[in-house]
């Protein structure tokens, strides 16, 4: 196993100057979790990953700089670099060629795609097929009623692929296996999906997949408004290539996780093809434009399952683990944030109602507790 703390690509900055500070492992050895500001981490969770330029530092004396961010010296804060499109006339054929160039970077390596049954990853699969590139598929599948269309598409695509594995999502719901998360350099909300990422990475190993494409970011690139003026484009595709699952999960299994929709040439092509379009949450344009690459169910219908059900059941299955990790975090840090009564206050709410803020607060505590427990193990 690689050391996920030493191998991390994020950097620590001095918040006063924006200058790079010591390596994160040195900082952690010296300070442990003493500089942690849990309230800021929770606030960042409520803001969401797409707004990470607005995040507050969750270390009192350091800022974590993720790849793709730069220091704004006027405002003394980190911000995500904005994608700058180059206007051009792009055809479907040219986009396929761009995809072919992207895929050719991994020539000689076994390519896989995350098979969600949704339109974003199915486009990637369709393009690989169009380019005649052999690939395998790995996905999470569930018998839940709301996922019946995704399941149908998954089975259809899996049947057409020689090398595919569908994992039972019920065995790796959100918040599952938190006690087994590897020690990692900074607290990160991505750890709540550790189990599903770990199961997929393990499946990649079984199938021999070395490079795994995800459809992460498709919601933004294919679903949000696209301004006519390239200078008004507010896309930050580097966010889709978020380092936590790459480093802490997939890299540990020797798998390279790649987001198809963070590639600048692909993003530029899609910008030009969608230029001037309004919000398209159902991705109707993409379904039509890529109709020859997609199963008919994804072209004709825009169904999309809601993930609330898996989150509700995931939390129900993780309550004891969550309490244990939180208590241990309280013992280690003494932070009032981790007082068991504080967690119980949240858990006393009706957890079967789809209250996003409540879940974000619980998940924030989970991520912080997991990190502190992991750092304690690492230091020991």
């Amino acid at each position: 196993m690689k050391d996920a703390i030493r191998a991390n690509v994020a950097r620590l900055l001095d918040p006063a100057t924006g200058q790079e500070a010591e390596p994160i492992q040195e900082y952690l050895k010296k300070n442990h979790w003493r500089g942690l500001i849990p309230a800021n981490f929770e606030q960042n969770t409520l803001l969401g990953l797409l707004n990470r330029s607005q995040w507050k530092s969750f270390f009192a004396d350091r800022i974590v700089k993720y790849p793709g961010m730069s220091w704004n010296s006027l405002q003394c804060r980190l911000e995500d670099l904005r994608f700058q499109p180059s206007p051009a006339v792009v055809s479907l054929g040219e986009l396929v060629e761009t995809a072919r160039v992207l895929f050719s970077r991994y020539e000689g390596r076994h390519i896989g795609v995350q098979l969600s049954g949704g339109v974003d990853s199915s486009i990637v699969i369709g393009l690989l097929r169009a380019c005649g590139i052999p690939h395998s598929l790995v996905g999470l599948s569930t018998e839940r009623y709301e996922f019946r269309t995704e399941r149908h598409v998954q089975l259809k695509l899996a049947e057409e692929c020689r090398n595919a594995e569908l994992i039972d999502y019920e065995q790796c719901l959100p918040l599952a296996r938190l006690e087994t998360v590897s020690s990692h350099a900074w607290p990160d909300l991505s750890c709540i999906n550790f189990a599903s990422d770990a199961c997929m990475a393990e499946a990649c190993n079984r199938l021999g997949i070395e490079v795994l494409f995800s459809g992460s970011g498709g919601d933004v690139i294919l679903g949000t408004e696209v301004p006519e003026n390239p200078d008004d484009c507010d896309w930050h595709p580097q966010i889709f290539n978020y380092p936590w699952p790459k480093e802490v999960v997939y890299a540990q299994h020797g798998v390279q996780l790649v987001s198809f929709y963070d590639n600048p040439q692909i993003v530029n092509g899609l910008y030009n093809l969608r230029r001037g379009q309004r919000d398209d949450a159902d991705k109707l344009w993409a379904r039509q434009f890529f109709r020859n690459f997609l199963p008919s169910e994804l072209v004709d219908f825009s169904y999309r399952a809601d993930f609330w059900g898996v989150y509700v059941d995931g939390l129900q299955g993780a309550l004891n683990t969550l309490r244990n990790l939180n208590s241990r975090a309280y013992e280690l840090t003494g932070f009032g944030y981790f007082e068991p009564s504080s967690l119980e206050c949240l858990l006393s709410e009706d957890l079967f109602q789809t209250n996003k803020t409540l879940y974000q607060k619980i998940e924030s505590r989970a991520a912080l507790s997991v990190w502190i427990n992991g750092i304690a193990k690492w230091l020991a």
């Binding site: 019946r148 269309t149 004709d300």
Partner: protein, 188 residues
């Protein structure tokens, strides 16, 4: 119109809809008192719910079809408002009995729903699914022959939703959430 409990079982629980209050009732026992004699119309419509990609009319329709209905009818608007009032007051039994006395005014449910969405309330109508569906069921000429109104639950939450399947199609093109709800009861 009659309410038929379809029989939704999950683990040791069964779910039914109270025909009086419209509430979801969970029975922690092996409750098998679902309607075993579902009509052919319900069975067919249920098939479309379970395999939504087999619906006859594709959901992705041109913008122009959304604007097919522009007429204004104070009487129909009043009828819709009364249904909203009854549903908000939890007078479920009264609401579905009330629609039994109304005469259809639209060719099909899609027109009735378009009317409800455009002429009755312009605000987001996520919470008005039941009065909207009841209105469409009462106002559509096609409903009696080939329509079923479903009430479903999104497990494990207790969120509920109402929608219509008519002539093998889901007539509300602005309703993208119905896909998450598992049918518990059917009206027809």
């Amino acid at each position: 119109m009659k309410l038929h409990n379809i029989g939704l079982h999950k683990g040791s629980s069964s779910f039914i809809i109270s025909s009086f209050s419209g509430s979801l009732i969970e029975i922690i026992a092996d409750y098998k008192k679902s309607d075993t004699t579902l009509t052919n119309k319900i069975t067919k419509s249920l098939h479309f719910c379970n395999q939504p990609y087999s619906l006859n009319i594709r959901l992705i329709e041109p913008e122009s079809t959304k604007a097919e209905l522009e007429f204004n009818s104070p009487l129909l608007s009043k009828r819709a408002s009364q249904l909203v009032y009854l549903c908000r007051a939890n007078l479920f039994w009264l609401a579905y009995k009330y629609i039994s006395f109304l005469k259809p005014s639209f060719e099909d449910s899609s027109q009735a729903i378009a009317f409800f969405r455009r002429q009755v309330y312009s605000a987001p109508q996520d919470s008005l699914c039941l009065p909207r569906s009841l209105f469409a069921a009462s106002a559509s000429r096609r409903f009696a022959e080939s329509g079923v109104l479903f009430i479903g639950v999104f497990l494990p939450s207790r969120s509920m939703h109402a929608w219509i399947i008519e002539d093998g199609r889901q007539p509300d093109i602005d309703d993208s959430m119905w896909i998450n709800f598992r049918p518990v009861a059917a009206f027809c």
